[in-house]
């Protein structure tokens, strides 16, 4: 259950990104999780719901973009069928993972306070 440790790192990163906007509310957190990243998206959502309390993410919603694994031949760019051996038979080349191992914080959505001058807010 490393999803809790992933959420701890995620919340740290979100709070760091939101630091220039100390009065803004964090409304939404967008992440991309690859099928082969080793992160279970449902557990991640549960962990986020549990862990966000007491942080600046307390009212934030988590949006998870689940990315399927995509394997390709590095030479001819052919797609390797799901579940097939990870090798391009015509080229004899080992397949490369084109996507599906992401554990990425994409963006956050901030609701700015009237007083928040986004450009000149002091760093806290």
């Amino acid at each position: 259950m490393h999803e809790y440790s992933i959420v701890a790192a995620l919340v740290d990163q979100v709070e760091a990104a939101a630091r220039p906007h100390p009065t803004a509310r964090i409304k939404r957190v967008h992440v991309a999780i690859g099928e082969l990243a080793g992160v279970e998206t449902e557990l991640l959502a549960t962990a986020f719901a549990t862990f966000r309390g007491g942080t600046r993410c307390a009212d934030a919603e988590l949006t998870i973009d689940a990315r399927p694994a995509a394997w390709r031949c590095p030479k001819c760019a052919a797609t390797i069928a799901r579940g097939a051996p990870l090798r391009c038979e015509p080229c004899g080349a080992p397949a490369k993972l084109a996507s599906g191992d992401e554990i990425v914080l994409q963006r956050i959505e901030l609701e700015l306070d009237d007083d928040d001058d986004a450009k000149e807010a002091p760093d806290v």
Partner: protein
């Protein structure tokens, strides 16, 4: 739009980040990697299920190695039993007791490095917590990932735990002395590995009989030979290949382990662990 604070209609603004959530761990892993490069040590992250035979393989490695100086960091939820076993096998070791954490991360390994000098060591094994899922997610700064898969675990493990095998540079198929007692299908596990690893590499070993251990040692030697030349500041490990190679295994050799040039402040560590 804003219903709870009466502030009017504040803008909701997106803030693009596009960064790895584990960036902090990646940074720490990079720091470990610099340590390892500086010391010229080959660091292996050894992963696998509980009971896959990780510790036994390292014990066999110590028994069969010829002149390689080994060290180990062993992660365990609750005990230091593995580190104690490795110490008894002649491998200077430190335990990381993770509590509830199901994996090692780069910071834990870095912390252990403070207590385990690696100057003069040829191969450092990081024996991860027994788990086929979580450890695969965390870079520790290792040069290679090795996954131990016991023949008692079933041929389909690579299909069930694809992330772990995707990250593996080598799979050690362990406990092959048990094959006569099992219906284990070697071709089936190789087929499963080919669907989880683009470049599957498997060595079948038995810690008990020693079968396959020479091939494993040859793999380690090749990986070690492929390391870039050590970075300045810890330049001396080329020398370590001579001289005190058997040091860790035999108590009487420990006295030799000192006085080998610049690395002394670290180098003594091994000896002291053994009661000198």
């Amino acid at each position: 739009m804003c219903s709870d604070c009466g502030c009017g209609d504040p803008d909701v603004v997106p803030l693009e980040i596009q960064g790895r959530i584990l960036a902090d761990n990646d940074t720490n892993a990079g720091h470990n990697r610099e340590h390892f490069a500086g010391a010229g040590v080959l660091t292996i992250n050894l992963m696998g299920s509980p009971g896959a035979g990780k510790t036994a393989i390292l014990e066999a490695t110590a028994r069969h190695q010829a002149g390689l100086r080994l060290a180990a960091i062993a992660g365990d939820l609750a005990t230091d039993r593995d580190a104690a076993r490795l110490e008894r096998a002649g491998i200077p070791s430190r335990a990381i007791t993770t509590g509830s954490a199901c994996h090692l991360d780069a910071r834990m390994v870095h912390h252990a490095l403070h207590a385990l000098p690696i100057a003069g060591v040829d191969v450092l094994f990081v024996e991860n917590v027994g788990n086929l899922v979580c450890p695969a997610v965390y870079d520790l700064g290792q040069a290679a990932n090795v996954v131990a898969l016991a023949v008692t675990e079933g041929e389909d493990k690579p299909l069930k735990y694809p992330t772990m095998f995707l990250k593996a540079d080598l799979v050690l198929l362990t406990k092959i002395d048990l094959l006569p007692h099992l219906d284990f299908d070697l071709a089936a596990v190789k087929d499963a590995l080919a669907r989880a690893m683009p470049e599957p590499r498997v060595i079948a070993v038995s810690a008990k009989t020693g079968e396959g251990v020479d091939e494993w040692l040859a793999w380690l030697a090749a990986r070690r030979a492929a390391l870039p030349a050590p970075t300045a500041g810890a330049a001396a490990h080329g020398h370590h290949d001579h001289g005190h190679g058997h040091g860790h295994e035999h108590g009487h050799d420990h006295s030799h382990a000192h006085d080998h040039g610049h690395a002394h402040d670290h180098g003594h560590g091994h000896g002291h662990d053994h009661g000198h």
